[in-house]
Amino acid sequence: MKLFVSEGNPHCLKVLAALEVTGVHCDVQYVNHEERVVPFLSRPALPALLLPGGLHLFSPNAICRYLFEVSGQDATCIKYSTIVSSLHSLQQNPLTEAVSVADVVLWAALYPVLSDPSLALGERTSVKAWFDRGAVMHSCQSAAQKVLQGKGLQGMKIFMQRQPAPQSSQCRGTQPCNSNPAELKRLPHLSPLKPHICLFPISLPQEGKRNLLVTSALPYVNNVPHLGNIIGCVLSADAFSRYGRLRGWNILFVCGTDEYGTATENKAREEGLTPQQICDKYHVIHSDIYKWFQIDFDFFGRTTTEKQTEIAQNIFWRIHKHGFLLEDTVEQLRCENCKRFLADRFVEGICPNCSYPEARGDQCDKCGRLINAVELREPQCKVCRQTPVVRSSKHLFLDLPKLEAQLEQWLDKSTSTGDWTANAKQITRSWLRDGLKPRCITRDLRWGTPVPHPDFKDKVFYVWFDAPIGYLSITANYTDQWEKWWKNPNQVELYNFMAKDNVPFHSVVFPCSLLGAQDNYTLVSHLIATEYLNYEDTKFSKSRGVGVFGDMAKDTGIPSDVWRFYLLYVRPEGQDSAFSWADMALKNNSELLNNLGNFINRGGMFVTKFFEGIVPVMELQQEDKTLLALVGWELQQYIQLMDKVKIRDALRHILNISRHGNQYIQVNEPWKKIKGGDTERQRAGTVTGVSVNVACLLSVMLLPYMPAVSQTIRDQLNAPPSCVNTMLQGTGTFVCCLSAGHRIGTVSPLFQKLEVDQIEALKKRFGGQQPAAVPAAAAAMASVNGVDPEKAKQLTQAVTEQGEKVRALKTQKAEKAAITAEVAKLLDLKKQLALAEGKSPEPAPQKGKKK
């Protein structure tokens, strides 16, 4: 018998509690939410119980009843239980009877609702009393811990987001908290907790608050994201969103996979699946990677939904109605061999602008100019290398020139009032300077949003028209009230995070689509673009195996928070930056371990060792006040910078604070003073107390960067949860959260050292097959046979030099003995060289040896 459960899944509460209450002997296995344990169910159903007879139970209620019955307890519960009667009567009924399956099932089902401290139960005090009695039961507590892992209701968030969108008109069964009390008596009917009981109120813009809609550029589903993609888009957006929530802003952070396009079609053909299946498969890969990096999306969706088609076609028709579309016959490259019109990325040729030989059909990688595939010189079909022919096809164009005036007017306002990054403004300006031309928004493909216009019914929308609309449709899949975010420019500020190559589409093409649709759409207020992240001194390349890709980061054994820290530390803000293993190790060891970790750990350790785990009394002297002022100033700088999305610079201030802290401790030597007289001990106490409070502040400032570490620090210091929300309000105030007498928890080191050999090994693993360096396999083999290319190089040099020497001696007709000696050295060197090159060390016949 085996019970399958998943973390964060509220349905698992009742089965785990039942298991504990009944004491039935059963294996428990934790699996992912998507795991399909029950073989005949199409959708994953957890929890599930594999019965001894081989059948599966997928109904949590049935599982509970079975457990109770098997343990010999009554599972029928037709009769009243006292609990139930008190649910609708106001009389206090003591829990006289033993816990029945009814109690367990009801308690667990109601747990997500009743455990919320903000829920006002009002008159239903007996309900609360009954619930609390269940809550203190060990079995229930243990179940709650296993399911929620101490995260409270937030632990259920991921599970809830994966539930299918609720049917609006369905009202099957009874909802526990709203149902008629009489219905509640018949416990077997309690349907499992329906996802559309809103535990996480859908974020909507609120009056009087700053409402931020944060998007990250939608990653293309087919590509596994690498570190550069991650820092450029989702990680930057995540750091900023987390910060914004701490500031009390009302934030909605959405993203998703961009799934339409030929690449998916081709991949599908390769793998023998449908495009939809490919997208399903890769969407999960993306989702898992971002989950590992702790990216806290409010919703991570997809572009292949009905809403996408609906909204895209709506915008299309509006643009059409307002006369911003042009029709034209376009010449396109068609590969007669592959029998299809070639998508831009499947044509390669010579750039008409800069003569770069590997220019792609839509954009030249070298000069960045947007081109039309037919303009390429010597085009080739990337798949079969045949020369494609030019064929005509009717297409629709977005009349950008007609919208130029409106666009410029809006751009002037937005770029001047908003926090656009310098590169974004620059790129946009140069686009406008070059002059806007009509852009084709349709393509002759099959996997895409269909064009609803009857004359173009076999065509789909071009990805750069269609994909940004994904932001809207993903939001629409999150809430029906998406228009409150997207058609609300007065209340909502839109932040777009992306890498610089996406800028023109977000600052010109997409806003033009929205302006042309004339539907009061929210346009981007702050466009945050990063430069490129390089890998060591080259570019990331999946095909050549160069660089770290999302799913590999996990395998390195380096924690997610450390990755986050380093990527944000080297975030390419003003210019390209590079990921370097050596540098990551250095930053980890120097900044995280020796600076940050050291300071935080010391404060806590002193409290534990010298003050029995209780924060001592603090009497602030001038010196302490100076430190507090300094810390306060750094905090204000941090806030000012983060408000402007200067994520990398803000991080420096965190490190400054811990540096000041370390110095402060160093100067005051509390470990010595604690052994001294009263005044000295008082000093030690103050310094220690101030240090842990600074540590507490640091934990809050660190939250956007390293959420897990941030929480760990607070757990170790047993800090009150309220401190998270207070210190970053307004211009920032450093508050004393851990006052004298506060008991802290168990302190332990936060970070581990990254050793040199570990880093070297990782660098080699991700170095790929580069012609310049020796391939890893060959190098491994070399060390076994004594073949050593480095040495070979040196020896070649030595041989040449020695050879010169011998020749010189012979020319000079020097002493025979001397010549012989030098020749012997030369022969020896040659032998070593041969070994180092892996050749046979047979001496080559020497010319003139016998003379």
């Binding site: 019965l51 059948l55 019955e69």
Partner: protein
């Protein structure tokens, strides 16, 4: 609909006196007024209650496992099957088809209440299927045909034809 199912069940169980039912709520949840206790509410609960009254406990399963399985499918009927959308139909039929691959009845080898109520619940779905679709979900169709021929179960629902009309005898195929 629920009331008709219950009266059909009563007849099947051979209960002498038909009960008086009322409904409550928008969903018309059946309520049985009990003379010696509080009212019994809900289709499945009433059904179980009737079975116990008629002392036919084997209809609820004859072992702990089968009892749990029966309850599971009864719950499934009320929560997933009732009020499902057209999109869900396909999934439901597919899942059931897989499930019934190696089973004669919903709970394995015994006829139980699960068969009765799943039959009633799925009847409208099956009735709407074309012959080819019925063949596609072969196991469901087999089970369905089996149950609908069970004495006393099908009525008042119309019979659903599951076999193709054989114009020619098997010799000519």
């Amino acid at each position: 609909m629920a009331l008709r199912e219950l009266s059909s069940l009563e007849r099947y169980l051979g209960l002498k006196k038909p009960n008086k039912y009322s409904t409550q709520g928008d969903n018309k949840v059946p309520v049985l007024q009990n003379t010696n206790g509080p009212p019994v509410v809900g289709l499945v609960t009433v059904a179980c209650h009737l079975v116990k009254e008629a002392k036919r406990l084997e209809l609820l399963g004859d072992s702990a496992e089968s009892r749990a399985v029966v309850q599971q499918w009864l719950e499934y009927r009320v929560t997933k099957l009732d009020g499902c959308t057209k999109e869900d139909n396909k999934t439901i039929l597919k899942d059931l088809n897989l499930y019934l691959q190696d089973k004669v009845y919903m709970a394995g080898n015994q006829f139980t209440l699960a068969d009765t109520f799943m039959f009633y619940g799925i009847h409208p779905l099956i009735a709407d299927l074309a012959i080819q679709e019925k063949e596609q979900y072969g196991n469901v169709t087999r089970w369905f045909d089996h149950i609908q021929h069970y004495p006393g179960i099908r009525h008042p629902l119309p019979p659903v034809v599951v076999l193709r009309n054989k114009i020619y005898t098997s010799k000519h195929h």
